[in-house]
Amino acid sequence: MKVSSRERDGVTILDLKGKITIGVGDVALRDAVQETLNNGARQILINMSEVTTIDSSGIGEIVAAFTTVTNREGKLRLYGIPPKVSDILQITQLVTVLDIMDDEEEAVASFSR
């Protein structure tokens, strides 16, 4: 998996591309979120639109990132959830606890409300 970072209106956006799976993508995601926090960012948006596969470790890493950012008094939100990832979030009932937005425009704006 590839992770790239950009800024928009004070929000750090992490664009994920590829598989978030055990031993590979999950570690890359963890490192990217940690680095973002270390750089002082507390408003973090994860763009999932190019995620092709996510296993339970990948989901676990999303949950861990959400908890870590929240504990550091930040906010972590997701957008661009592909259909199969959406199915996983529904099945695991994580849609009830994670902040999931429809698109980037809405998601970025939500941080300033």
């Binding site: 296993d55 676990g60 959400f66 695991t92």
Partner: protein
């Protein structure tokens, strides 16, 4: 060779997460020869990933000297995939449900839930000399049936 002409496949991999990708390629190719629809093949692939990850991580404790054996066969209208490790085994009835409110934000504990959710039957065999074999079965349904739509799984 299975009775309906599908070749029975047996693989043996070292306990490294990278090897999950290799097995996935073989399983995807094999599933592509069945009448399973694309969605079903995708979800079976996820279940296989989870079983392999459990075998490597929890079963073999990531010991590269220990092997994971994978078997794939199609008989009649059922796909059967078995994954065997060399670990100490575990009690599947003690695994917590990831859907309990207190577990929702746990970063782990969803692998077996996925396997149960995406497959029709999960069987465990604990060898007398150690090692766990999990066998996952999936009926080949006519295209158009959503394998996730009607199935409810307890954690």
């Amino acid at each position: 060779m299975s009775r309906n002409g599908f070749p029975e496949i047996q693989l043996s991999i070292g306990s490294r997460f990278e090897n999950i990708e290799l097995v996935q390629v073989v399983v995807d190719e094999s599933l592509g020869r069945t009448e399973l629809d694309e969605d079903s093949r995708y979800w079976i692939g996820i279940a296989v990933r989870e079983a392999l990850a459990n075998a490597i991580k929890h079963g073999n404790q990531r010991d590269p000297g220990k092997r994971v054996a994978v078997g794939f066969r199609v008989e009649e209208d059922v796909v059967s995939i078995s994954i065997a490790d060399e670990g100490k085994g575990f009690d599947p009835t003690t695994v917590d449900s990831p859907l309990e409110p207190e577990n929702l934000l746990r970063p782990d504990g969803r692998g077996i839930f996925y396997m149960k959710r995406f497959m029709d039957e999960i069987l465990y065999d604990f060898g007398s000399a150690g090692g766990t074999t999990v066998t996952m079965k999936k009926r080949i349904e006519p295209s158009g049936d959503d394998p996730r739509a009607v199935k409810e799984v307890e954690g």
